[in-house]
């Protein structure tokens, strides 16, 4: 039984890597989110450790326990301290990743079950299906819309996620530090083909931006 449990550890940890992992960020916004994730994990681990120690103290022979220290010292003040630090961290990160200041704007339109993107091109705006082109090394605001049900735009390595809601336009800031291809997905269950509603983000070298209309998949 122990061996079976240990054997699952590599399988679980394998989910921490790969192109859809928030723990392998490729831009400053995703880096901030990953930092917050680690801070929350550390806080949760500290609280869990306190509970485990408390449970361990319950075993063995009856003994004198400093109730005040555990109930108020650890139960109240330690827990409040962890909560306060993580709350301040979350507010700080939350402010940093908002779309403040100028940024290049692109549009992402969702429908069951595909994405269409519109972005600046060398000869005017261009449209692509399933591939979003952005320049690397600068912030990009994605203006997100939907024509049927609620979807959600998410490129884990480049930023947070944002719902695509019929009838309104939401704005999400993403940024890639280096040129490359990143994977994105719909992060809100939207029907039978939801799991296949993937897309790619190609971050171009700033010197080669905007991409030429001859780039694969781009149409004027």
């Amino acid at each position: 039984m122990k061996c079976a449990a240990l054997a699952t550890v590599p399988l679980v940890l394998a989910g921490c890597g790969g192109p859809l992992s928030t723990l392998t960020p490729s831009g400053p916004i995703a880096q901030d989110i990953a930092w917050l994730w680690w801070a929350l994990l550390a806080g949760a681990a500290a609280l869990a450790l306190m509970v485990f120690v408390l449970v361990a103290l319950g075993f063995g022979r009856p003994r004198e326990v400093a109730e005040g220290r555990w109930v108020f010292g650890m139960g109240v003040w330690f827990s409040l301290a962890v909560l306060t630090v993580t709350l301040v961290g979350a507010l700080w990160v939350g402010e940093r990743i908002l779309p403040h200041g100028p940024a290049l704007e692109v549009q992402a339109h969702a429908r069951q079950w595909s994405w269409t993107f519109t972005h600046p091109g060398a000869q005017g705006p261009t449209e692509t299906d399933g591939v979003l082109h952005i320049p690397a090394g600068q912030p990009v605001d994605v203006l997100i819309t939907s024509s049927d049900v609620i979807h959600s735009f998410w490129v884990p390595q480049l930023g947070g996620k944002m719902d695509a809601i019929p009838g309104r336009q939401n704005r999400l800031r993403i940024e890639a530090s280096r040129p490359g291809t990143y994977e994105g997905l719909c992060a809100e269950f939207c029907g039978l083909e939801h799991a296949a509603m993937r897309f790619e983000v190609i971050a171009h070298d700033p010197a080669a931006w905007p991409p030429l209309p001859t780039t694969e998949g781009i149409r004027p």
Binding site: L80, L83, L87, L91, G94, L98, P99, H100, N170, R171
Partner: protein, 109 residues
Amino acid sequence: MRRVGGMVWLGWLIAGPTAWAAAFSVAYGLHGLGCELGWPAVNVGPASLQRVAIALPSLAAILLCLVLLARVKATLGPEAGIPRLGLWIGLIATLYTMAPVLVATSCGA
């Protein structure tokens, strides 16, 4: 000191968390309404109408908890212990819920 009935004691017990829950629900609703109606751009003194509108229900809940804390011992006598804890929980939870309202950006931009 007269004894307080079971349901009244129960009412004191849940008063703190209920005040927090009510303030949170009202603030949540006002936040969405304010974003739609453009309240962040309307100034009320040094703060925006958005912050004032969201903070007011929380301030009311904090005030209610403080008033009840001042009266709990006189009303419940020796049975005031756990209801007093409930009021402290409501008070601190409301402070934590309200704190981001005073500093965080509203409406996502």
